[in-house]
């Protein structure tokens, strides 16, 4: 790797590890000090590596320098040291030296504990995702703002407020107790699910960034299932779901960033490795007696990896959506269920059901009805396309709908 690529690469891979290990010693209430120490370390690396050339082991260099900076800080702030760890009566730096431990085990444990601290129910999910990107993934405020399609100030404020909240609530960087872990893990999984969705469905034009978000969500999810205490079937099912979805990442948008619908995707662009991984994790997740929404969504995604329309496929998808909706309602699941119903039980039944679900202010509801009425009732199809047109927000989507309207009108003449 070229030198100018190395530092950004190390920033992406090592920032989160160093911050987790140091923060674990300082406590989450001093996360900003930990952030400063890590930033200073990378700044020093940028200066000295350029002048003196690369150290033999750049990663070890970063670890040593940040550790020394942390110990220096503690030495010069003895009062601070006594404050942050009253349980450690002896404030000799030697204790911190022991605690700042760069073994793989401590790095992994600290990161896992950091996931739980950040996905704490006391802060909003939006802030959790922002903090996760910032602290667990090493994303800068610029990148997070880009992913959320908002400005830097908003993100900066959101992160600051979230850190403040963690401080006030005295959130510990620790694994929750066995009793608490299943509830807390549910919050963590939701955050990872949303982090992934943010990357997968974001309308941000920055494809590389969107892909990074998905990869990061999968990496964090993998960390959960590599640890015996957090390796539960639900987490494995979520990873399976992410694998299936990301297998279609390259096929679902064209060069201009326009969304390509599932039925028009080029299956050659589907990633078979990820499909196989998805199947592997789905099988692995099929233990225990809890059928979570992640299991159901992963199974639905599995059936979508076979593009051929078969009765078996759509009947299975329909039943999975029936179950998913019984666990948790969402408009998108209701719409997808109705689409599956049209494929499994026929369009007429689906139209009756679609009219019942009544999501009049949802653009996709109208797109679905327009699709179902196609070849059955042109006037209704047109009406719903026009309703969808009024509700849709992006130019790309508008163009797709206009094309459909024109196609129907051309048939009429």
């Amino acid at each position: 790797m070229e030198q100018h690529q190395l530092l950004p690469h190390l920033f992406r891979t090592e920032y989160r590890k160093i911050i987790a290990v140091i923060c674990k010693v300082f406590g989450i209430e001093h996360i900003e000090i930990a952030e400063d120490i890590v930033s200073d370390t990378f700044l020093l690396a940028a200066e000295t590596w350029g002048q003196k050339g690369l150290p033999k082991n750049p990663t070890a260099w970063l670890y040593t320098v940040s550790k020394n900076k942390a110990l220096d800080f503690l030495k010069h702030h003895k009062i601070f040291a006594q404050k942050i760890s009253p349980e450690i009566k002896n404030t000799e730096p030697i204790l911190y030296e022991l605690a700042i431990d760069w073994s793989n085990k401590n790095i992994n444990d600290s990161q896992l504990q950091m996931i739980f601290a950040i996905c704490h129910p006391c802060i909003s999910t939006e802030a959790q995702i922002g903090l996760a990107l910032n602290i667990l993934c090493g994303f800068g405020v610029d990148e997070i703002a880009d992913a959320f399609l908002t400005n830097k100030e908003t993100i900066y404020k959101r992160l600051t407020r979230a850190k403040e909240k963690l401080r006030i609530e005295k959130v510990k960087i620790d694994l929750p107790s066995q009793l608490e872990i299943s509830n807390r893990l549910a919050t963590v999984l939701t955050t990872l699910y949303l982090l992934f969705s943010e990357g997968y469905y974001s309308t941000s034009q920055n494809t590389t960034l969107r892909k990074d978000l998905c990869v990061e969500a999968m990496r964090l999810n993998l960390m959960l299932i590599e640890h015996p205490q957090t390796n539960i079937p639900e987490a494995v099912a979520l990873l399976s779901l992410m694998c299936f979805h990301s297998s279609r990442f390259d096929a679902r948008t064209n060069q201009d960033g326009e969304v390509i619908l599932y039925e028009n995707q080029d299956t050659n662009l589907w990633n078979n490795d990820l499909i196989n991984k998805g199947e592997y994790y789905l099988n692995l997740a099929s233990t225990g007696n809890k059928l979570s929404k992640y299991h159901l969504e992963a199974a639905i995604a599995f059936w979508h990896t076979n593009k051929k329309d078969t009765t078996e496929k759509w009947e299975n998808i329909l039943q999975l959506y029936n179950k998913l909706l019984q666990i948790e309602y969402s408009p998108i699941a209701a719409l997808n269920r109705t689409y599956a119903l049209s494929k499994a039980n026929g369009k007429m039944e689906a139209i009756v059901e679609a009219e019942k679900i009544n999501l009049l202010d949802n653009q996709f509801y109208h797109s679905l009805l327009a699709n179902l009425y196609m070849e059955i009732n042109e006037a209704k199809s047109l009406f719903h396309l026009q309703s969808a047109l009024l509700l849709c927000k992006t130019l790309t989507e508008k163009n797709i709908i206009i094309k459909k309207i024109q196609a129907i009108e051309a048939l009429k003449n």
Binding site: L318, Q319, K323, Q326, R337, T338, L341, K356
Partner: protein
């Protein structure tokens, strides 16, 4: 919006009324499709439970009898809880319940919220 209990009853005592395993299996799809339909309208509050056919009835003076359906032929087979704007709407939701195709019925009752 109000919540309603839907109670499914049918004759499960007489021999003719017993469903074969194949018939039970065949009921699965319409049943799941019907539940899915209510859930897709965001009107399912609780997917309830199916009840086993055997049971006991406990009466005063230490009298315990076997089977819940000693005096009535129709037994409760299960229940769900739905959300609807009126009793009429809740009854409307029940019209497509598959139990009606095998000689059963649905009783619709409003839940009275606890204060």
């Amino acid at each position: 919006m109000q919540e309603f209990l839907l109670v499914f009853r049918r004759d499960s005592e007489t021999v003719q009324a017993q469903l074969s395993p194949e018939q039970m299996q065949a009921m699965m799809k319409p049943w799941q499709d019907w539940m899915g339909s209510i859930a897709a309208q965001n009107k399912l509050v609780n997917s309830g439970n199916r009840l086993a056919s055997d049971g006991k009835v406990v009466k005063p003076n230490n009298i315990i009898t076997n089977g819940p359906y000693v005096e009535i032929k129709e037994a409760i087979g299960g229940y769900i809880i739905v959300r609807a704007s009126s009793l009429d709407e809740a009854a409307e939701l029940s019209k497509n319940c598959p139990i009606l195709t095998i000689g059963g019925n649905v009783e619709v009752r409003a839940l009275i919220p606890m204060d």
